[in-house]
Symmetry: none
Subunit: 206 residues, 4 copies
Amino acid sequence: MIHQSLKEKQRQEREELILQATQELLLERGYYETSMGEIAQRVGVAKGTLYQHFESKEALMIALFKREFHDLHVAIENIASMQVGAQEKITLMIDTLCYHLAEKHPVFFIIRNASDLEAEIHEEIKEYFNGMRARISVILDGGKAEGIFNASLPTEVMVEALFGIIVSRLFKNFHQRQQVTYEDLVGHLKCIYFHGITAPTPAPAG
Amino acid sequence: MIHQSLKEKQRQEREELILQATQELLLERGYYETSMGEIAQRVGVAKGTLYQHFESKEALMIALFKREFHDLHVAIENIASMQVGAQEKITLMIDTLCYHLAEKHPVFFIIRNASDLEAEIHEEIKEYFNGMRARISVILDGGKAEGIFNASLPTEVMVEALFGIIVSRLFKNFHQRQQVTYEDLVGHLKCIYFHGITAPTPAPAG
Amino acid sequence: MIHQSLKEKQRQEREELILQATQELLLERGYYETSMGEIAQRVGVAKGTLYQHFESKEALMIALFKREFHDLHVAIENIASMQVGAQEKITLMIDTLCYHLAEKHPVFFIIRNASDLEAEIHEEIKEYFNGMRARISVILDGGKAEGIFNASLPTEVMVEALFGIIVSRLFKNFHQRQQVTYEDLVGHLKCIYFHGITAPTPAPAG
Amino acid sequence: MIHQSLKEKQRQEREELILQATQELLLERGYYETSMGEIAQRVGVAKGTLYQHFESKEALMIALFKREFHDLHVAIENIASMQVGAQEKITLMIDTLCYHLAEKHPVFFIIRNASDLEAEIHEEIKEYFNGMRARISVILDGGKAEGIFNASLPTEVMVEALFGIIVSRLFKNFHQRQQVTYEDLVGHLKCIYFHGITAPTPAPAG
DNA sequence: GATGAATGAGTGTTCATTCAT
DNA sequence: CATGAATGAACACTCATTCAT
């Protein structure tokens, strides 16, 4: 039994190393410029070993994606089922998305880039995104019902705007030196998403 | 001389045909799935001819990008130099960006997808974007000075939010059946960008 | 025009060289042991060149097969449409098969070996054989109607026996030093096919 | 000792299972499409175990061949040493060959396909065949001496014709739906081998 | 200048074989 | 001994680029 679990442990460690190397290379070069040979080389194993863990390059990418996004998935489910107002849910959602997407899982952006246009290859990844969209839609609809979100905006547009603001912004943040701190940045994004860029109207004098 | 310019004209026509075909194929298949052979075939010339106009696949893509964004570039310059308020400038900017990015130049998205991470290859394209960002930054700073934009938001963040909202949203619009009309969509994006998703406060009763 | 046909000629010459080299290697090593790389090497061209002439290894094999068997095909059609008795037709058929299969086109045997069990890969080749079988069946049925062939034998069995005798025998002849001359061998095969191995009964004394 | 022989027994059982699985897969897919991994999987052992019984894929195939043909070998020896006429011996030989080759040991055909051209790999298998040929040659020569076989036919040709008729025909029978029953088929093959396809001459009226 | 066949490095993938556990 | 993960050479095939015509 101990024997078994030792082997199993090694296997998982190796798998982890492969995923790590893949993520690194993906970030350095992008999907198409990263070859299985390079991944193997970086891990320090033979090419064939990769195929013992993942049945194809595509499968490796999907596995990487799943690993990367499992936590996010769980977090989103949690937020969705909280007993708080929509505004707070969306706030938490932005926090969560920013945290996972930018800080912990930048591989997201690369895969997204590759996935948008290659529907067939990354069908599975798309479903992940659609799941996320559905959860957020429900929250936004809740907020409209509460009267706190602008009911004249289509929910779908609101969802994409959320992604658009976060992904675009954080991606830049990740790849470039930035003057703005992470916390400030997230605060600004929330501000824009909730109130836009218009200067706040001064509270009417009482 | 006249002979020369006739030849030159034919050359330019050919070049135009190549760019056209490239754009089509890029939209149909994406960058990596489009081969020089296919482009040549669609134009109806030999592969070698492509290389007489563009020294590499990459150079062809950059040339395409430049052609595609020349109009946008001009339009942005025009808006930047208008004698109107910042709010109006940004409104026009959103109209313009939406128009060019989604309606006229969807190739943008493909190139952007390919370009984000491959810094070296698409350096030239990045400069285009940086130019655009600079113009928009100036406008936003103007708006802050006017007191109509939220001065507590870093201009850079505001710029990226603008791109984020437009690109993400319109890309989806381009690739999927959509319930929202183009005009409504642009209206919603402006609304979100200026006011966020919060429900408008009712005008204080007089 | 002359220019055109020069290039075309060179192309065909090269194609011929590829087919030649393929045939040689097929005979030396068999289908699975012959790699596209080896073929290219023997021809003295790059691997890619092979693919400009034949879209896959399989296609190359089929093309080789077709080239090799075109003459046989024509010859069989001719025999089938002759205005002579069935016995003579079968005699000619054996001559023809022996000539083409053993002397001129030994590649046949290799392809047959590969084709029997890999139905899907070599469907096209199988159809060639079925065409041949059909022609021979008609002749044999004719012979039965004439009363000269044994009507109690199923035609199908007779066809396969014809192939069996010729292919098995000639294949050996090709690959081994042989005491029997080619002409004698063909004579013996005809003898066996028509009369079996039983000693001829002496003509009854008058 | 008893322990030893128990282990030995298990070892042999395992070996038998491996050979069985190999035979099955060979029939289902052919030599090149059958991997050591698949064989191991079907047996339910690890790949490494295969190599404890057979030092290579090739050795496994040869061992399978030997096992498969041991019975045939014995049967042929028996027939060869019988005290009956050559005609009867050949008749029995055809029965035996048909029985073993088609009914019990179709694996023969696959191996033969693979073996014909790869002299080096299957040298050992070839020797088996040569032994068979030698025995049959002796019988045929005996028949010639008896005056019942056509002495003008070279014995070697007669041997190959025997193989040719049986193998070609039965192979087809094995792989295709057949109208002819097995017994009839064997009868037809004997008929052709002994008398050819010519219609039997009516007994002279007396 | 136009052509398109030739090039060859590169890709993802397979699989017989080995060997540490 | 059994195991099965690791190996790495080999394979079929692609495609941006070159260059003789």
